[in-house]
């Protein structure tokens, strides 16, 4: 692990990311929070619908807002990779970061499962039909996974390795 992280830190890309443009980090942080709001808000809205709330809105119509959550996720994947590549030491030895990554993987696999296995069924659902149990499970899992992503992301500075990991 240490060898990989040292190699990554010394790559030209990582060095360029840490370059003189100090303003870029807070700008990307702000975008990361915008992405967070889009993922949590929009995916959370759809998850609530999957669980059976807001039945007046047909499920397949609620799904029309999902591209917003996907945009939010792409913003956060991009800015998140920037943070990691810039300061790999700061994250690689922080257990909170690994929990966060694990939660992201669970959330993405769960969303992929819905996309590939359940979406075709969603289209045939009658507007007033209760969501099947599989939809409810996906909705609960999704919300829990994204809340975990947020929680462990927020814990990063509180769980940081000695010296912030800056010059390990």
């Amino acid at each position: 692990m240490a060898a990989f992280v040292t190699w990554l830190r010394d790559t030209a890309v990582s060095q360029a990311f840490r370059g003189p443009q100090e303003w870029l980090w807070p700008v990307f942080e702000s975008l990361h929070f915008l992405g967070l709001a889009l993922v949590l808000g929009v995916a959370g809205f759809f998850d609530a619908r999957l669980m059976g709330f807001m039945k007046r809105i047909p499920l397949r119509k609620a799904a029309e807002f999902l591209p917003l959550a996907k945009v939010g996720f792409l913003i956060n994947l991009t800015t998140g990779l920037y943070f990691y590549i810039s300061s790999p030491f700061q994250y690689s030895f922080n257990i909170a970061w690994w929990y966060k990554v694990a939660a992201i993987v669970i959330a993405v696999v769960n969303a992929g499962f819905f996309e590939l296995m359940l979406k075709s069924r969603m289209v045939t659902l009658r507007d007033d039909q209760d969501p099947p149990i599989s939809f409810r499970i996906v909705g609960v899992l999704s919300l829990l996974a994204w809340l975990n992503v947020l929680f462990w992301g927020r814990m990063l500075p509180f769980w940081s390795p000695p010296g912030g990991g800056a010059d390990l």
């Binding site: 942080e29 967070l36 889009l38 808000g41 929009v42 609620a62 807002f65 947020l150 927020r154 509180f158």
Partner: protein, 161 residues
């Protein structure tokens, strides 16, 4: 003023929030504040994007309840924000960016109440074409929330702001 700020920051409650030996103090309140941000900005984003043409098949009346959800998120953040402020009152009160953040939030919420009234309101024509200024309000709302997020993030940079 300074005395008052210090008295709340160094009150038993303020000290517990700032340094309580449990993650349920500052870190967890910060998590709740971030969940609230997701709810407020997320609901607003859905409403704004609907006004701007996304998800047209969803009737406007069915999205009315998102305003209520947004206000619950705002309530959560008013409370958690106040608690976080208490724990650092004597520092945060002198950060100009803090007042910029409050101004953005005030204007963003004002914009949301205009959208609620003009586009989703009981007297609005929810099935006809959007009122003329609807899209302007929606775009303004998105920019104002982005401003609030940026200002909020910059509050962490106490040396600079």
């Amino acid at each position: 003023m300074k005395e008052f700020l210090e008295s709340i920051q160094y009150s038993a409650f303020g000290l517990w929030v700032a340094g309580g030996d449990t993650i349920f103090a500052f870190p967890f309140i910060l998590v709740l504040h971030t969940v609230g941000l997701g709810i407020v900005v997320g609901m607003s984003a859905i409403i704004d994007c609907r006004v701007l043409g996304m998800g047209r098949s969803v009737p406007l009346v069915d999205l009315r309840r998102l305003f209520r959800t947004m206000w619950w998120g705002f309530g959560l953040n008013a409370v958690t924000g106040t608690v976080l402020f208490i724990s650092e009152a004597a520092d945060k009160a002198y950060q100009k960016i803090f007042y910029v953040k409050l101004a953005f939030i005030f204007l963003a919420l004002l914009t949301m109440t205009r959208i609620r009234h003009n586009v989703f309101g009981e007297t609005a024509d929810v099935n006809g074409p959007m009122p003329q200024n609807a899209k302007t309000l929606a775009i303004a709302s998105l920019f104002l929330w982005m401003g609030a997020i940026v200002a909020g993030r910059l509050m962490a940079y106490t040396q600079t702001f």
